[in-house]
Symmetry: C2
Subunit: 140 residues, 2 copies
């Protein structure tokens, strides 16, 4: 169970978030996906259906189309997997308040994913170092 969850999560992060294969989201994500905690995420507190989830990924990836998540470690619980990660991407599209700079931006974060009984991702609780990102975007 634990290994299957870790494999699914690693493939999800690589395919959907890093490579942008958004149409594959249904292989990984449950019919309802809850954004339980994610400061700064416009969808925080909402539960998304699959089209809504795909739209969130599409809009989130747009400013950084070559973005990449590098998993640092995974941890297991009864109903979930937590992952620590490093992220990088080139700022090629506008972010609210920050027109595209062309800069290479880096970020770190940790995400606790929940799985449903069918082994699909049903939500997450996440913290990212968004202050670090803002400082890189603001630098002159």
């Amino acid at each position: 169970m634990t290994d299957a969850r870790r494999r699914l999560l690693a493939e999800f992060l690589d395919a959907v978030w890093s490579r942008g294969e958004i149409d594959r989201s249904g292989e990984f994500v449950a019919a309802n996906y809850a954004i339980l905690h994610d400061p700064g995420d416009p969808w925080e507190g909402r539960t998304l259906d699959l089209p809504g989830f795909k739209e969130r990924v599409r809009l989130s990836r747009a400013p950084f189309p070559d973005q990449r998540f590098d998993v640092q470690q995974m941890f297991d619980s009864e109903d979930g997997v937590a992952v620590t990660w490093l992220w990088s991407g080139t700022h090629l599209g506008d972010v609210p308040g920050f027109p595209a700079t062309g800069r290479r931006i880096t970020m770190s974060g940790a995400t606790a994913y929940r799985f449903d009984d069918a082994g699909r991702l049903s939500g997450h609780w996440q913290v990212t170092d968004r202050l670090g990102v803002f400082r890189q975007l603001q630098a002159r």
Copy 2:
């Protein structure tokens, strides 16, 4: 093993960080404690001995003496435990750039702790929502 680690970590967060029983640090922390990743932490990248660890806790707690960590979830790996948490504290002492405001400040974060073979904490990898804290301190 897993239960023992979780119990030690819960007691460490409650006793040392929330209640400020800094002299008990040696019950929980190894002789060398590595701050592997912790954006914004002045000790990031350093390995501390026990006196150094106690000094870090003392200085970190000083601006928020009633601070409290509330554990949300724990997750296990081969050599560690990851924990998601909410934090709150009253801003009663100065932070660089922010003289004491008397405000109640809240924060969230996730920390991946490492354990040594003796079952003590030997380091951490952490991300906190420090942008959220800065916005609360800066609000007028």
